[in-house]
């Protein structure tokens, strides 16, 4: 009987654990990009990868604002498209994309590999089932 309660409490406390939100841009310190993204008060974190042709931004939306996830993604996408007209801009809020970008930033991939990784992530995010 007592064991049951210990296990339950363990679960409850573990549930409180979570990562702190990060803000990072890769591969270079793109001040303008950071400024635009920092201004957005609808997101609490972002990680982005930039390529010659693509800008992939994974954002983190606070839990209560997730109802308007699609709207927020579109707004940020529009703003970034204004700033980078010659690049394809993709803005996503997805845990998998975030973790993949984190892995790429850690591995410090360059040019061709970077392009391949970005394409892989894009293909993933387009999956429906």
């Amino acid at each position: 009987m007592k064991n049951k309660w210990i296990v339950i409490l363990l679960f409850l406390t573990l549930g409180a654990c979570s990562d702190a939100s990060e803000r990072s841009v890769y591969p270079s310190q793109d001040v303008e990009l950071e400024k635009v993204l920092d201004e957005q008060d609808s997101i609490i974190g972002y990680k982005s990868l930039m390529d010659d042709n693509t800008l992939l931004v994974s954002i983190e939306i606070p839990t209560m604002k997730r109802f308007s996830k699609v709207k927020i993604e579109e707004n940020i996408k529009k703003e970034l498209e204004n700033q980078y007209p010659n690049k394809e801009v993709i803005v996503i809020d997805d845990l998998k994309v975030r973790w993949e970008i984190e892995k790429i930033i850690e591995k410090e991939q360059e040019s061709k590999e970077l392009t391949k990784s970005i394409e892989k992530i894009l293909a993933l995010s387009k999956e429906e089932t």
Partner: protein, 151 residues
């Protein structure tokens, strides 16, 4: 003795259902099952190439599989006696209803017995689930057409 007197006696002797304790138990067990589900989602996103959107599928399948094992070994009904709705409402409850019916009717053969009776309890879940999904989608389509909401 008239009906009213009898009803009074029955009410007096009926044990009171401890609503608050029952709700607490259901909440805890249901919450634990959902927490396990969330952990499974993280697991599938981390170690496999699922995104948030697609990870729901293997998670639901895994939870049903766990419910199937627990039902087959006879543990699920013990959890249920404790938790009530907490174990019946999540998808594990659906898995339990299908598997328990399948086990039960094995004596009547695989086609008519198992196949015909497997969804005896879950059938109404499926019927009303599909029906309500249809109506909700219908309402949303109308609202989108009017322009009140967007997809």
């Amino acid at each position: 003795m008239d009906q009213k007197q009898f009803e009074d006696i029955v009410d007096k002797q009926n044990p009171k259902t401890p609503m608050f304790t029952n709700m607490l138990k259901a909440f805890l067990v249901g919450g634990i099952i959902c927490t396990i589900g969330q952990l499974l989602v993280f697991f599938y996103i981390r170690f496999f190439s699922f995104t948030e959107r697609t990870a729901a599928n293997p998670t639901a399948a895994t939870l049903v599989f766990i419910a199937m094992l627990l039902t087959g070994f006879g543990y699920y009904k013990k959890i249920s006696q404790f938790a009530g709705a907490g174990s019946a409402v999540p998808i594990t409850g659906f898995g339990n209803s299908v598997v328990s019916a399948a086990i039960e009717h094995k004596t009547e053969g695989y086609v008519l017995g198992v196949g015909g009776n497997m969804f005896k309890l879950a059938g109404s879940v499926i019927v009303f689930g599909v029906l309500s999904a249809f109506f909700v989608a219908l309402i949303k389509t109308i609202l989108v057409k009017i322009g009140v909401v967007s997809w």
